[in-house]
């Protein structure tokens, strides 16, 4: 595996008696889009939570451009250029849409201009509205714009596509590809395979807290284990 | 002196568990810190004054009457205040403010009705003569209070574990969303829990004059802090943890009184702060800090 911009090594996490992650390695290089897929409960969001500093890892390391983030709080990780969106969007509901972006603290790589970002996610007409009044799809886009406003080098995108119309999906896909073209590394968690297929260079398939498969989506679709995990193991022949 | 402090500490501890358990039950079910809990206890103390010292009812009658009356009064209070809160944007903060307002209202009404002068009830109303317990001699009223406390705590346990309503109550405490999903009537169960909380406060109030000395309408806030300290030590939302919290609190208080009496007043406050900071989930409990 090539030297990654973001590297997770041997990340483990246990919730009580439940082993959510059992030593996961994952890396993304600058300009690359990695799809992170797997059934519900396989540990994808837990991995993002640990990488972004929402949860503490039990074991393993998280490195951004060679620097360990393991003991840094979330806002420091954001400042160094690691950011994420949330599966259930988390805007600041009492702030206006524009303010939602203005509060973002530009990190080491300079932040992006709020007005341009609002244009990019097509929220400019709502700039003066309270973010709590937006639809959940709009809130997802606002989440994305806010993460970008910190000027990340790596962005973790957690189920952005759910709920978007095909037209919106196409625009978001174009947008994410453009970000990668600018040198951003992206890890995209998604259930929608068409979306994954459209934007990712390679995928990592997780199951039960472990990496099951690494490669392209096409290869994954032919992998017996992966198919079993997604469709359930076939009945043994009678 | 040490043996005496330990023995009376346990006796008072059981009583403090009774003081705290109603607040803990309400918190466990509704996730609301009922700051009017101490005022319910204060009103219970005034009821005891009227029932025992003025009407000369026998103590068991006062206990039953107090519980039933406060239980029934608690139901409409619940329906008037809580369901509306659940729809607010910040229910936890608003509930704190709301019940703080209720606390102030009750205290003011009590002051207008009963006056601000200190009252007390002679301990002999609960029986004459000292009692020998745990190798020590102590006032009969203390032992009476501890025995009733133990009985009430046992009844709470029976309610929660041996009745249909109680099991539904525990289901709500453990997993609110799931309880709704399987068709449990949250408001009915919560209203009953709120009523029981008020009833338990009334019983604690009946013994307050004997355990805490004199009482005034201003007793509410200090009792809130004591209750909160007791249930935080045990575990918020875990009614039986309250017994552990009460006993630890009682024993510590009696040890302070024996060896550091002039600083004993500081105890509830310091215990509360220390437990919140060092072990915020209580000795038996779950997470309360911010993410």
């Amino acid at each position: 595996m090539a030297e990654g911009l973001l590297e997770l090594r041997g990340v483990a996490k246990r919730f009580g008696g439940f082993q959510a992650l059992a030593g996961v390695d994952l890396a993304v290089a600058a300009g690359e889009i990695v799809g992170l897929i797997g059934p519900n409960g396989s540990g994808k969001t837990t991995l993002i939570n640990i990488a972004s500093g929402v949860l503490a890892a039990d074991a393993g390391d998280i490195r951004l451009a060679g620097r360990s983030l393991l003991h840094l709080p979330a806002h420091r990780r954001a400042a160094l250029g690691l950011n994420r969106t949330f599966q259930v969007p988390r805007p600041f509901p009492t702030l206006t849409v524009r303010q939602n972006l203005e509060v973002a603290v530009p990190g080491a790589a300079a932040g992006r201009d709020p007005a341009a970002l609002l244009d990019a996610v097509e929220l400019a007409p709502f700039a003066g509205r309270r973010a709590g009044e937006l639809t959940s799809v709009q809130q997802k886009l606002l989440d994305l714009a806010r993460a970008l406003a910190t000027g990340p080098r790596v962005l973790l995108v957690d189920e952005l596509a759910t709920g978007l119309t095909p037209a919106e999906l196409a625009r978001v896909a174009t947008r994410l590809r453009a970000l990668a073209a600018e040198g951003l590394g992206l890890i995209v968690v998604e259930h929608l395979m068409a979306f994954i297929d459209r934007i990712t260079d390679r995928v990592v398939v997780m199951n039960a807290g472990q990496v099951l498969f690494r490669g392209t989506l096409r290869e994954a679709a032919k992998d017996r284990q992966v198919v079993d995990v997604f469709l359930g193991a076939p009945e043994p022949a009678a | 002196m040490l043996a005496y402090a330990l023995a009376t500490g346990i006796v008072f501890g059981l009583y403090f568990a009774l003081v705290g358990i109603g607040m803990n039950l309400v918190f466990g079910v509704m996730r609301i810190v009922n700051l009017a809990h101490g005022d319910f206890i204060m009103l219970g103390a005034f009821s005891a004054f009227w029932l025992l010292a003025v009407l000369h009812l026998p103590p068991p009658a006062a206990i039953v009457l107090g519980f039933v009356a406060f239980f029934l009064a608690g139901l409409p209070v619940y329906y008037a205040l809580v369901p509306r809160l659940a729809r607010a944007r910040e229910p936890e903060m608003l509930s704190l403010i709301l019940f703080f307002g209720l606390s102030q209202t009750i205290e003011a009404l009590a002051a207008m009705l009963f006056g601000n002068s200190e009252r007390s009830i002679p301990g002999r109303l609960l029986g004459r003569g000292p009692v020998h317990l745990l190798g020590q001699t102590m006032p009969r009223a203390w032992v009476y209070a501890a025995a009733v406390s133990l009985a009430m705590l046992g009844l709470v346990w029976l309610y929660l574990h041996r009745t249909r309503l109680g099991r539904q109550t525990r289901a709500i405490m453990a997993a609110r969303q799931e309880a709704v999903a399987i068709g449990i009537d949250i408001h009915r169960i919560s209203a009953i829990a709120f009523g029981i909380g008020a009833g338990l406060a009334a019983v604690a109030g009946v013994f307050a004059p004997f355990m805490l000395g004199s009482f005034t309408p201003a007793l509410g806030i200090p009792l809130d802090l004591t209750s909160f300290a007791v249930i935080v030590i045990g575990a918020l939302g875990n009614p039986l943890g309250t017994v552990l919290g009460g006993v630890i609190f009682g024993v510590t208080l009696m040890l302070m009184r024996a060896y550091l009496s002039s600083f004993a007043d500081l105890l509830p406050d310091l215990v509360l702060i220390l437990v919140l900071l060092v072990r915020p989930a209580g000795l038996l409990g779950r997470q309360v800090r911010r993410a």
Binding site: R90 | I97, I221
Partner: protein, 301 residues
């Protein structure tokens, strides 16, 4: 920002500055300013970081005693004593910073417990040589009604400037974001811990400074008087009534409610307690954003 200053801060200060010339109850005027500072100080922490300290009076009392002890024990001149009072409240605020790790109700009650503990400590008979214990404080700092009033106005001006600045500066906006959603704020790169600490200490300082001025003016007081829970309650009610997080809200709260309180008279405190208790409940149930929320609803149609 300039609009806030021109419409709220300057007119209020101007009126308060000329009032002593036409109204001779100086003690009452000072009390108004005291409550304006306390309401705005509480507004800082509750309005901008969401922490509601029921024990806010602890800072006021710490300021009063910081003043009293520096004047009586160290022989400090009163002006230095006021700074010592502010220092004392800052110290208490620093000691209590671990409380900021706690959530809403836990924080509120823990801060109340802290204020009560401070009262019990200062009023302890064993500490009589240092604090005066339960017998309180008798100060000979010199009766200076105009100077103390001017100082109180200066503290009010600073506190309100801070609120006005927060309402427009990015720092204030970031605090509001953290109040809305702490986790999302962290992801937006906001250092929540530092922001909350700064606002908490500023809030403590405001109460401490005004507590010191109050002590100077009052000269003789018992510990119960400066740690009276009613200071917290009033500050909370005035702020909630007007609207937390706004600049004019707490001002209206103090002027209307404290004005009413004094207009009707002080003979029966329980009537006000009843009125405030009911008012708090109504606010929590129907108008959680106070007068400011009502005004916004009208403005929005």
């Amino acid at each position: 920002m300039w609009r806030d200053l021109g419409l709220v801060v300057l007119p209020l200060l101007a009126v308060l500055a000329v009032l002593p010339a036409v109204y001779d109850n100086g003690a009452l005027l000072l009390n108004f300013v005291v409550f304006l500072v306390l309401a705005q100080g509480l507004n800082l922490t509750y309005g901008f970081s969401g922490y509601l300290p029921f024990g806010y009076v602890g800072f006021f009392g710490a300021g009063a005693y910081g003043f009293a002890m520096s004047v009586t024990l160290a022989g400090a001149p009163p002006l230095l004593g006021v700074l010592a009072g502010g220092g004392a409240s800052l110290l208490v605020g620093l000691l209590l910073t671990p409380l900021l790790r706690l959530q809403g109700a836990y924080f509120g009650l823990a801060s109340l417990a802290a204020a009560e503990a401070l009262l019990h400590l200062i009023g302890n008979p064993n500490l009589q040589p240092v604090t005066g214990g339960p017998y309180g404080v008798k100060l000979q700092a010199g009766y200076a009604p105009l100077l103390t009033y001017a100082l109180a106005l200066a503290i009010l001006a600073l506190t309100m400037l801070l609120v006005a600045w927060l309402r427009h500066a990015r720092f204030g906006l970031r605090l509001l974001a953290a109040r809305d959603d702490a986790l999302a704020a962290a992801m937006a790169g906001i250092d929540i811990v530092r922001g909350r600490l700064v606002i908490w200490l500023a809030s403590a300082l405001a109460a401490g400074l005004i507590g010191a001025v109050f002590a100077w003016r009052t000269a003789t007081f018992f510990p119960d008087a400066v740690f009276d829970l009613n200071f917290s309650i009033f500050a909370i009610v005035f702020t909630l009534f007007g609207g937390a997080g706004t600049l004019a809200g707490p001002v209206f709260g103090v002027l209307l409610l404290y004005g009413l309180y004094n207009a009707i008279g002080l003979s029966a405190p329980q009537y006000f307690q009843l009125a405030y208790g009911v008012l708090i409940m109504l606010l929590a149930l129907f108008f959680p954003e106070g007068l400011a929320g009502i005004a916004r609803r009208i403005a929005d149609g």
